[in-house]
């Protein structure tokens, strides 16, 4: 019974933190026109909310990830994924392509949602640390990349390997576009001032229209590059990488039978 309750609590924590995160991301759309004195604190409060929901998720997820094998595997995969960002692959990637999403999706898919979440979030954190990219944008990146991994862990596991690959390809494409759209929500208000400050009474649909303009003019081509890059990388790596990860996972799980005489 306790187990079931605890699982329900876990689900509730995931749900609430996702909700809080979405609220933080959508802040420019949902917040009313602030009084002028608070105006400039809005970004800070929004980052605070996002950091809190990220931390709550991390507490929940990491409480279960302490075994040496998971820590070691996570550490090394984080290093690998972060390195992928910097090595020249000799093949020009289109637009906003970043090779980090394929490993996050694959690891999340094979090792499960929690592992995927941690791989996503920790990879972004590590690459920020080693490239000097620590800043208020980091929680946004960690949160989103974490959810890329988390949601990949909830994909159905298909028996048919072609179907499995097709599913992952679509998934990679989808997240390639979505990641860009989500991350814009962070940079956009900064670029154009607090969302509604410069045009009072714009309202939700007004802001949405502005955002759509911004997205179509600046981001779409870039994001399309990322989406196609994800798709190609998953096409090349998907099946053999899943097999390799699954082989490794068998060594993760074991059962101890100690027959002492």
């Amino acid at each position: 019974m306790t187990h079931a309750t605890s699982r329900a609590a876990t689900a509730a924590i995931y749900g609430l933190s996702l909700f809080a995160g979405i609220a933080a991301f959508l802040a420019p759309f949902i917040l009313p026109q602030p009084a002028s004195a608070q105006e400039n604190l809005t970004p800070l409060l929004t980052v605070l909310l996002l950091v809190i929901s990220l931390v709550v998720l991390l507490v929940e997820v990491q409480g279960q990830v302490v075994s040496a094998k998971v820590v070691a595997a996570l550490g090394i995969l984080v290093a690998m994924t972060a390195v992928l960002r910097f090595i020249e692959v000799a093949i020009p990637g289109p637009g906003g392509f970043s090779p980090i999403f394929a490993p996050i999706i694959l690891a999340g898919y094979v090792f499960g949602a929690r592992f995927g979440f941690l791989l996503g979030a920790m990879t972004l954190l590590l690459s920020a640390l080693i490239t000097g990219g620590v800043g208020p944008w980091l929680p946004y990146q960690m949160f989103t990349a974490g959810w890329v991994g988390m949601s990949s862990g909830w994909l159905p596991h298909l028996k048919n390997s072609r179907g499995e690959l097709a599913l992952l390809l679509a998934w990679g494409f989808f997240w390639g576009l979505l990641y860009g759209a989500i991350m814009n929500l962070y940079t956009w208000p900064l670029l154009v001032g607090t969302a509604v400050g410069w045009q009072p009474g714009l309202g939700f649909t007004g802001v949405l229209a502005r955002y759509a303009t911004f997205y179509l003019t600046t981001s779409l081509v870039w994001d399309m590059g990322r989406a196609i890059g994800n798709l190609l990388l998953l096409l090349v790596l998907g099946t053999p990488a899943i097999r390799a990860l699954a082989r490794f996972q068998q060594r993760f799980q074991y059962w101890v039978v100690c027959a002492e005489s």
Partner: protein, 343 residues
């Protein structure tokens, strides 16, 4: 030589404080003069404290120019407010149509400057603080995640070397990267080698006494408090915008609850840290250069005229006002650039 460089480092926590202060002050004001002072301060600190092996340096000035131009153009083209009309586009054009004003351009440039300054503040932070020191700051509760990051940091150079070896080995076998398919012989051995290494590393960790071999769940009570704290934070954040202070109080109590929980849960982890942290006078000075500007500008002191902080070019552009007291307080952020490393 080596040890000298190590001893020169100040405690990471003061740098966190400094970066927080500088970033907060940057977002607090819309006055380009003040923002520019912060930008200069960050540059001074970076020049003084930058580590010899500072992480990858972005081509800052090029990036800054791109941000400035983009931000200016975007605002100029899409915001048709202000009185100094530079050019009028036909009203019929969707979104672009209407007057292009100097005010919009100035506003856009100020925003760009702010973004650039934020970027520079955080870049300075990363360049004066070694990543491993920063990871040692992780709260006890996140011990295993901190360890994950430390391991990752250890294996980054290893992975790069491995990548180079694989590329050579495959090249000699006739592999030439022509298309996407050709990534497979490079990336798969990297992945497989990494997984093998993870297995050995796990054994090595356990052999050296790394405690847990099994997984545990958070206690139910902790989960409920997590939910409560997060709920209060979210509720407070939303309510604050409509109801004012009751919302902010709720938000504050939510954050406080979570901090307390993290602290309490962290105490269950008995591991002891090897790193010793001591605050010397250097840390004191550094902290003062962060705290003092905050104390000057955050509370609404009666004698200080804060209106110059909220400069706006609309409706008609004018020279930004400048208060020397505020300027001086902000310039203090550069204070640590003046003290000697060796003490």
């Amino acid at each position: 030589m080596q040890t000298e460089r190590i001893d020169k480092r100040a405690d990471v926590r003061v740098w966190v404080l400094w970066a927080f202060a500088a970033a907060l002050l940057t977002t607090l004001t819309r006055n380009p003069l003040y923002i520019f002072i912060i930008l200069l301060a960050a540059r001074v600190v970076a020049l003084r404290w930058q580590l010899a092996d500072a992480p990858l340096k972005l081509p800052l000035w090029r990036l800054g120019l791109v941000i400035l131009i983009f931000s200016t153009l975007f605002n100029l083209l899409f915001v048709h407010l202000g009185q100094t009309v530079l050019l009028a586009l036909p009203q019929g054009w969707p979104l672009l149509g209407g007057p292009l004003t100097l005010e919009a351009a100035v506003y856009g440039a100020t925003n760009g400057l702010m973004l650039l300054t934020l970027l520079l503040v955080f870049m300075t932070f990363s360049n004066v603080v070694p990543a491993s020191d920063l990871i040692y700051l992780t709260p006890r509760l996140f011990h295993s995640l901190g360890l994950v990051l430390l391991i990752a940091l250890t294996y980054v150079p290893e992975t790069r070397r491995h990548w180079q070896q694989i590329r050579d080995a495959q090249a000699i076998r006739g592999h030439a990267p022509r298309g996407w398919r050709d990534l497979r012989p490079l990336l798969l051995p990297l992945l497989l080698g990494g997984l093998e290494r993870a297995m050995t590393l796990a054994e090595a960790m356990v052999a050296r006494g790394y405690g847990a071999t099994a997984e545990t769940r958070q206690p139910l009570l902790a989960q409920l408090i997590l939910l409560l704290g997060l709920g209060a934070t979210l509720g407070g954040w939303l309510l604050g915008y409509w109801l004012g202070w009751p919302g902010w109080v709720l938000l504050g109590s939510g954050v406080l609850t979570l901090l307390l929980l993290i602290w309490t849960l962290g105490k269950r982890n008995p591991a002891r840290r090897y790193e010793e942290r001591r605050w010397g006078w250097r840390e004191g000075v550094l902290a003062a250069t962060a705290v003092f500007p905050l104390l000057c500008l955050l509370p609404p002191w009666p004698l200080l005229d804060r209106s110059s902080l909220y400069y706006t070019p609309y409706p008609q552009v004018s020279l930004p006002p400048f208060d020397p007291v505020i300027g001086l307080a902000l310039a203090l952020l550069a204070g640590s650039g003046l003290i000697n490393h060796e003490g």
